[in-house]
Symmetry: C2
Subunit: 273 residues, 2 copies
């Protein structure tokens, strides 16, 4: 069975393509009840090898065909080797399953891996700190202070650094709150609960404004990204339940939806410790 | 105050350098009591700006000097632009604080970001599944099935894929168990608790052997990486306490220690939800 998945040109520069996706396991997909998107399940598909270990039983899928949704366009954009300057060829290397850019001169493979976006959900006297973006994408919309993790820092350190850069706020990280993967754009959000060390904060160059919002005031109609929408909803739901927990989940954008529709997604694999 | 930090040539190809590190916040460093490494604290250092918001109080650090431990050698290895083939210059771009490789032809900056290593801690009837590595580094030593996350898959999907590739095992992810950052080598381990869907497993090309170990049998003296050592210790400690929880932490290799000494580290920022 094949499933058409549209790769959206969201904020990562991926080109729009349609790719066949095969999967072979049940997803423990959970949908946040307050979200507007319909449930989506990743179904067990196309076993490529059958198990013979259970005589008499139905054949079980043995080899999951793990084919991730990936834009070959992004790989094909890599035309030169960073190290030697040689031109690349685009092939699936021996023993691998994915198209890679391989240097025709030195043989180096240019792997591409997801990036971590680290940020803080800052609580202060029943309010949360949000920043209005002064940069694209989502200029003028509200977000948590967050940005790409750098080599040489931990996720907690990166989250505090981004909070300083975007909100001029000095914070203390309290606990991990969420890991939200967005496979479509090769990003993983890692959000920590944090508290202000003092009340000094002010927008950095990437922010127009920084403000503490009461929980009833959070501008859900003017948030910058699905990941922020999910994070704040999970936080409010936890508060209602009386206990803030850690959340793992995958944000799958609904095929065909607009990049600006931050509610057009499902939260799959929503797992908690 | 300055702190010398040695960058080790561990498993990432980073060159050995000594770099000055300034930090300005208190670390909530917790050390696992069963570990052999001494406690290490990241101390508040060199505030670069003083706050005047609290008249009469001691000056407070206002601007944390977030300088991550990064090898400039890795950046300097990038000599050509992947997209246009232009030569790079190595400079700190306007508005940034880190050395980057910038294309002299098209102006593109080649950012380098940490990679996520995703894997499974597979529980089966009081035993855990380990793989003996058939590749370098750490050939012949034991590890959890784990590997680099690919663009287009979630961390949970990547962990299941790696488990299939390295152990031939079909698993179901149950819950997130740990996120362990290793800033020194630009890696973050994301480990899930998982269970076998059936008892079929067999070593893939990257493994010599795969085996279920009773908790008393875990080969702690023959583990491949500090991250695996930490993960299994946290798991055993949780079991002793009667509740398996999610752990966030930073593994900081002890300066000057050998790459092969997987116990020469501290677990800093050990946080739990």
């Amino acid at each position: 069975m094949l499933k058409a998945v549209q790769i959206l040109n969201w904020s990562s520069g991926l080109t729009i393509i349609t790719q066949r996706l095969t999967k072979t396991r049940n997803s423990s997909s959970l949908k946040l009840s307050t979200f507007s998107s319909p449930p989506r399940r990743i179904l067990p598909l196309n076993p490529t090898r059958m198990s013979s270990s259970q005589p008499g039983s139905d054949p079980l899928p043995k080899s999951p065909a793990f084919v991730s949704v990936q834009s070959s366009g992004a790989v094909r954009k890599i035309k030169f080797c960073q190290l030697c300057g040689g031109t690349t060829k685009h092939e699936i290397p021996d023993g691998e399953e994915k198209l890679r850019a391989i240097c025709t001169h030195c043989g180096r493979i240019a792997y591409q891996n997801p990036k971590m976006v680290v940020g803080c959900l800052i609580e202060h006297e029943g309010k949360v700190l949000l920043c209005k973006r002064n940069i694209q994408p989502s200029h003028g919309l509200w977000t948590l202070p967050a940005g790409y993790l750098e080599v040489g820092e931990s996720a907690a350190e990166g989250a505090m650094r981004e909070t300083w850069e975007e909100a001029g706020a000095t914070v203390e990280v309290i606990s991990p709150f969420a890991q939200l993967d967005i496979p479509l754009i090769g990003q993983t959000y890692v959000i920590f609960l944090a508290r202000l060390k003092n009340l000094d904060f002010a927008p950095g160059p990437e922010s127009i404004e920084c403000r503490l919002f009461g929980l009833e005031e959070i501008p859900f109609d003017s948030l910058a990204f699905s990941s922020i929408y999910v994070t704040l909803n999970l936080y409010l739901e936890d508060l209602k339940k009386g206990k803030v927990k850690f959340h793992y989940g995958t944000i799958n954008k609904r095929p065909g939806s607009s990049p600006s529709d931050i509610r057009a997604f499902t939260l799959d694999y929503h797992l908690q410790p």
